[in-house]
Amino acid sequence: MNNDSIIVSSLSKRFSFPVKNQSAGWVKNLFVPEIKEIKAVDNISFSVKSGERVAFIGPNGAGKSTTIKMLTGILFPTAGSISVLGLDPAKDRKKLAYKIGTVFGQRSQLLPNLPLTDSLEFFGVMYDLSDKQIKIRIAELVELFNLGSFINQPVRKLSLGQRMRAEVASSLIHKPEIIFLDEPTIGLDVVAKKSLRDLLLKINNEEGTTIFLTSHDVGDIESLCSRTIVINHGTLVKDLPTQELARSFIREKYVDVTPEKTFDSFPELPSGLRYAVKEKNKITVVVDIEKITTQEALRKLLNVFEVDDIDVYNTSLEAVIRNMYESNPPRS
């Protein structure tokens, strides 16, 4: 049995818009403007299984939000096909909306002046739930998301963390099978981020909701998603389990060296090694493991410095992702 929630095949999206031709007159610019075309998404394919937690990441302008908007039926693809829960989002937008939830971190869907409970009731009616169903679901969400302390407060008086919890709760009012989250933790402090991630994991475990999220926050990816799809310049760069992401992209290791006394000079390092930090009490050396093995690097460092302590560690996932983005320069 095929349990894919999302199937994307050869998906592309091009945007075209008029640009001002400086050498042409205003009449020509008005009536026959020069048209510039941008390939926001270029022939990508992937699928997502029911209940999966997928991070869809990429630098700004990579095409991730455009993809999410095509998956939810907001944007029409230029080419390729999408099937979300067996529906074509472009043709069955309304039907699909009953089965999915969306959270756009930078936009609010709640009614700002009214208490949160009014927004939840409002969305319940929008999703055609009966009054009884709405009441039961609100009670469930209040408990699950711990909304009780501010459910009767006007939305505009909520803190950002409270509001984001409310946003996610309201997008779950109709028990969607998939929730699409576009940068849900943007602007949140560490406590609010953790609380939101825990809640998303909870709904994934308890309600089996598929999670598809875009984020620039490595914490979201590491703690929430079992799989990561990387997109850059509209094309799919990698699609692999999140745990393997760091492992397969590690090109560097870091070595912290603490001196026996202090470092008075910083001699030139052999090929494959470079300084990341140069301080009297500590140096950090970056080891290019494509040029030199860790063992060889340590041996060479011990020859150069009188060492009290040494610590070897991998580059962070954030650095891995940054390297991945940087190694995919824009196509000409």
Binding site: F15, F17, A40, G58, P59, N60, G61, A62, G63, K64, S65, T66, K69, T72, G73, I74, L75, F76, R93, K94, K95, A97, Y98, I100, T102, F104, R107, S108, Q109, L111, N113, L114, D118, E121, F122, V125, M126, Y127, D128, D182
Partner: protein
């Protein structure tokens, strides 16, 4: 059924929202009293200079015509243009497109909901105050008045929403529709009788007010004129025609706009 339930929910929610903030009602009331009141005083003076009748129209008729214009304007149906434009410019349209609703009808009900409470309150108390100060014109006591008033109000509201939604939807192509909105809005104000009751228009201007969609959207101001009892079928017919035209235009435009959506974000 779902559409009716949602429309009812929108209206209830927004009326409650407006009732939470009575200050906004006071501002709306003050704005109407200031604009309509000043004009009524000026007209009262001008009519007095002309022995109480201009172009076969009495001051009572002119005052009620103007009151109907301002009461209708409290509904703020015109603001649907700005609401659509802001949805497009801010990218907020993606939130509404991700819901199981028809964007246009949702926006239209929303606009009605925004203006319903001030409209009901201001119209009710305004009508009582105006009736006690200037009296009631003869046409308002005819048997056709109430049913035709309701009809002309309904078609006027639908036409206004469709007309201004058309302007708003152009934001998908030209982003800032403010200049276009200004032109359309001024056409509606002038041809609807905001500055000068339509009964006092020169003949060619009256014809434009009669046959253009801008004037037709404000036919509620014609209901107090003496000829209304005879002319109402023609005027409601014109309103239905323009309503039909603009509902089609707005539907086609929206279908095209849906394919043109581009929202911020990479």
């Amino acid at each position: 059924m779902k559409a009716i339930r949602l429309a009812h929910k929108i209206l209830r929610t927004l009326v409650r929202d407006r009732m939470y903030y009575p200050g906004r009602l006071l501002i709306d009331t003050f704005s109407i009293v200031a604009r309509c009141g000043v004009l009524l005083v000026l007209y009262w003076y001008v009519f007095r200079l002309n022995n109480g009748i201009i172009n076969n129209t009495t001051f009572i008729v002119a005052a009620w015509s103007m009151f109907f214009y301002f009461a209708f304007s409290v509904f703020r149906l015109r603001d649907i243009s700005r609401a659509i434009m802001q949805d497009v410019q801010s990218g907020n349209i993606e939130v509404l497109f991700s819901k199981p609703i028809s964007y246009l009808s949702y926006r239209m009900w929303w606009q009605v909901g925004e203006g319903l409470y001030p409209f009901l309150v201001i119209s009710f108390f305004g009508a009582i105050i105006l009736a006690s100060i200037v009296g009631i014109p003869a046409t308002m006591s005819t048997y056709v008045f109430i049913p035709t008033l309701v009809l002309v109000f309904l078609f006027g509201a639908i036409l206004s929403l469709a007309l201004y939604a058309t302007v708003g939807l152009l934001a998908f192509w030209i982003e800032d529709v403010s200049p276009l909105f200004w032109i359309v809005d001024k056409a509606v104000m002038i041809l609807g009788g905001s500055y000068l009751p339509v009964a006092l228009f020169p003949n060619f201007m009256y014809k434009i007010a009669l046959y253009s969609p801008f004037g037709a959207s404000q036919f509620i101001t014609h209901t107090v004129y003496g000829a209304w009892a005879i002319e109402w079928p023609v005027k409601i017919g014109i309103q239905i025609f323009w309503t039909f035209v603009f509902v089609i235009v707005v539907s086609i435009l929206f279908a095209k706009a849906r394919k043109k959506v581009s929202v911020n974000g990479g």
